[in-house]
Amino acid sequence: MKNKLIFLIIISGCSFSCITPKYYVLKYSQIQSLDLDKSLVNYIPLEDELLRKSVVLDSSYSLLIHKKYMKLENYVKKTEESGVYSSDLLMAQTLSKITQQNYSGALISLERINDRRFSLLKSLLIIDLNYENERMAGVPDFKKYLLKYQDLIDTHSDNLVLKRIVSLRLRFLRYNY
């Protein structure tokens, strides 16, 4: 019985660690130094300034980059229970759900954010999450999402990091990953 339990724990542990997120959260300053042309990863950019000013986001970011997804989920829950309720927490919740590939849940959390600091990130993630939700139901329309991303980079034409990130997103769209 004991052996069976250990076996089950090992199997479930393996299966959990095998869920690799499609989206990786990274600071703007770190994305700028990456060679994105050879990358096949979708990045969610977080402004360095935002992380410096928000304890919740900074803690969540640390957990995310160390791939402590379960700990992040618990951290978000505990912070919510403690009565701290803010856009930062909602963003942390969104990111946590994205890493768990709970895209519809992430979209619900994201849509509750009304903070201007997150307006660009929100616009980007709404397109991503709608794409993921549509992808679960079938093959999403490439042209539709191409136009949405085009509008986004045109609205923020000075943001070169965004332009590079969106180019990567498009690769995923094209290959329907």
């Binding site: 096949l40 498009l170 690769r171």
Partner: protein, 324 residues
Amino acid sequence: MLQSSLIKLNSSIGYLHDSPKTNCQRNNQVYFIINHNPLDSITTVSKINGLVLPLIIFNHFETTMKVKLGQSSIQESYNTFFASSLADESKRSGCFNVSNALSNDSIHTLELTIDTCSTTSKYRKSTTFYFLVFAYGWNISESGSPAETRLQVTAKLKKGNSLVYEKKYVINHSQPFVNSSIVNTNKLRSDFTTNMVEGLSFSTKECIEQIVADLNLSFYGSVPSVMQENNEPRIQNPAEIAQDSVKAVQPLLNEQNTSLKVESKKDQLKAGDQVMFFSFTTNSNIKGVVKEIKGETILIEYVTFGKLKTIEISKYDVRKTRPS
């Protein structure tokens, strides 16, 4: 068998326009005429080579095939895609209006002929079978290669019946094959088709951006991001400059992306002067502004395809142009 499988697969063609949007003066009207497209109607597969190793306990078969992209693998019509991408790019970064009809002689006509439009890639299939007395095993694997696109377009800009310029755009693009961990054959073949369509998308993007940049250059002798600052062209019309004698003299080897040769030496230069040199890449004169003089060399800032670049060249190798 591979051909029948690939014919069923198709991918959407398209790309992100990342050129800067301009709001320059659009005094010229251009009417586009796009001539026939030599893209094959269906995707074809031909065998390049094969290998058979028939040993007693080990058999190995390997086949490499050449796949040529056809219209059947593209969801949209390539002709329509080319035309709409050209119109979109013109609206973004072009300093001219796209006319829907050829109405009078004041309208420029850009006649584009797609001479070559070929995207090929290699697909490899290998089968290994091994057996001992009581045991046997086999391994079947398939893999794709980067897609190679060659796109050649001839452009003739006319005003009325007179030819303003004629130029060939040759784009050779290699699109790396995405190495996914997915081993499913259907997904691999689908990705293989998508890779070829992606390569064609990027080649078309590159070609169209060059065409629009050259149209701007021919109308204003400059590119739009320079004009964006004060909303009017800063450099004189190239037709005036063309009256001067121009001799290409020396290739510049120290430029990574743009191979340049420059024109006759002339006036004493100073920072802020407008100068001109010749680019082999765009096969056209490029205008720039002297940023700094460093002894015998000068640093020139110029804009190409919407991007600000700097080049260091000998001060004797540029031709000064009159300020506007």
